[in-house]
Symmetry: C2
Subunit: 340 residues, 2 copies
DNA sequence: GTGAAAGCGCTAACAA
DNA sequence: TTGTTAGCGCTTTCAC
């Protein structure tokens, strides 16, 4: 019966009110579960709602209530499995709380990222989750500062603005990875890493710390550039050509993909000729032969935590805060004793 | 100067009108590029806009104009790299045309998927892109039918409703894969495949067609179940335990991951002991040793095409239509001659 | 070319 | 407990 009518045209609240012979405000109260509603009124209204197949217009609600129940997520590259999993965590937590997610992909372009922030603000999102591409990009930082809504930053350091952050403890995972390699006798270790954002600097720091903690000289080499597959391949080629490193750590999943590609191409036998550690436990790592040791973290949980930080601010009125999540080094056969 | 003020509070169009000493309608005309605006008016208004840091409220615009410039994307599992790439294609095309994307993830649950359709409809999206989980789920089909906006379905057959579709020609890619294996002498070929949705039925059909075209008896085995990693592992174990298949095709990237995991665990040497073909050219396939032959397609382009089909309907007023995109078999060393 | 006024669909005082 | 009223911020007739 309801479907019979609803197929025709969308009913408005006014029509429901007319059909039920009550005021619009009463319909509104019934729909939003207001306590002061008599059972009689309630059923009158619900009957009309059912008959007309009425569904509230969330757009109009948003305009009037001055909240959209919508959060913007600005991601740098959705095709990166790391972000895909974070998106999953964010979306499911938002949805479980009645919120929707506007997703924008900035394709690695900081200017586009800044524009996205502005667009989402104009769309009146109630909050923003973002993994800033460049922590020092002036326009991005300025836009974030001007936002009057809770902002959650993913694993980035954006100085001078009050935002919540979910951070990974890259440093510890990286240190453990290096310790593992040192224990296996490696001293000439190469690190392929990104630059300009927190995961890069933290991994870099953890890497060097490990040598320092052990009181070892700096017999390592660091290949620092973008977080791209290309940098991974380029650096790996240089490392193999130089020929003195006995172990390589790729500090990022795209870097790992690039490095592994070169290893495969050149037929380098990981774990014997060269030890290897990656970051982020994506699908290849335990399928590769030999399985690849990684510094792992729970990406879905990162997303979930980001959404929770948002709710903490918007619902509980809490102040911005940081939450640090652990990383864990997973030894696998791609690491072996240093070859003679 | 502009930023000095805008930091305070969001300015409304009314405030702009007051500051400029003109009517709101004039501000509106300037903002939306209406032709009948004198240069004088234009600059008066823009000066006020700049001074107040005014940015139009897209929410209010949407309510009044009765269009949100927003498209909903209902995805079954965003952590699947296939969908991540499609999302990328959809989002970038939408954004290039001034639209935003509301993304929902239904976690493989048809009931949740149906609910998402309803929610997005209430949010008044102008269109919907969806890769239906279950082509026959009555509630989902009913909801899609009731929608009054353009719907684009990704690689699914949803009977009885007028939607645009972007389809992959799985059949051809699969046939070529089987031909390749047949040419290598394989006859006992196992197919691990999903069920209930177009990619499954098409791959299944293409597989059987290849044998039929060659006039060969049905010396194959088909393992049909969900599109999950688990089905991939389970089926692969059964196939290896049965011990008569000389080649395996996994008809889906998750199925491929499961199957490859078993192959790795058991130390099966692909291309020699057992030939193997996967679907979807995800990151592992050419890193695996040996590199894995696959039936490939352009996922980002699928997303782009979906968005274009939406624009075709909403802008050009075109009727719903289907676009079929090719798939391509990529031979790699995971396929070899049948072992003696 | 510009302004006044009505209203998109809803909510929230306030009054009854 | 219910109804009346005044908007949320914008666009769009319709006069002038």
């Amino acid at each position: 019966m309801a479907s019979d009518v609803s197929r025709h045209r969308r009913a408005s609240m006014r029509e429901v009110a007319e059909k039920a012979g009550v005021a619009m405000s009463s319909v509104s109260r019934v729909m939003s579960g207001h306590p002061d509603v008599s059972p009689a009124m309630r059923s009158r209204v619900l009957a009309a709602v059912d008959e007309l197949g009425y569904e509230p217009d969330l757009l109009a609600q948003s305009l009037r209530r001055r909240e959209t129940l919508t959060v913007g997520f600005v991601v740098g590259d959705i095709s990166n499995p790391l972000f895909a999993e974070i998106v999953m965590g964010v979306e499911s937590t938002l949805h479980a709380n009645g919120y929707s997610m506007l997703l924008t992909n900035s394709l690695g372009d900081p200017a586009m990222e800044a524009a996205h922030i502005g667009l989402l603000s104009q769309r009146r999102v109630d909050g923003l989750v973002i993994s800033v591409l460049d922590e020092t990009h002036p326009e991005t930082v300025a836009r974030l500062r001007e936002l009057e809504i809770p902002v959650v930053v993913l694993d980035r350091t954006v100085p001078g603005i009050g935002v919540s952050r979910v951070l990974s403890n890259h440093r510890e995972g990286m240190r453990d990875a290096v310790f593992h390699l040192l224990d296996l006798g490696h001293r000439q270790i190469a690190l392929i890493v990104g630059t300009g954002v927190r995961p890069a600097t933290e991994r870099h720091a953890g890497f060097e710390e490990a040598f320092a903690v052990r009181g070892l000289p700096r017999t390592y080499a660091i290949y620092e550039d973008s977080f791209s597959v290309e940098h991974g391949t380029r650096a790996m080629r240089e490392i193999l050509d130089a020929g003195n490193a006995t172990a390589v750590i790729a500090g990022g999943n795209q870097l790992m993909l690039g490095a592994l590609r070169v290893a495969s191409e050149r037929g380098v036998e990981l774990g014997r000729e060269l030890s290897f550690v990656g970051c982020d436990d994506i699908a290849i790592t335990d399928l590769y032969q030999p399985p690849v040791a990684v510094v792992r973290r729970d990406n879905v949980n990162m997303g979930r935590t980001a959404a929770e930080l948002f709710f903490g601010r918007v619902r509980d009125g809490a102040a911005p805060k940081d939450i640090e999540l652990p990383t864990e080094f997973i030894p696998r056969p791609s690491c072996g004793p240093v070859a003679e």
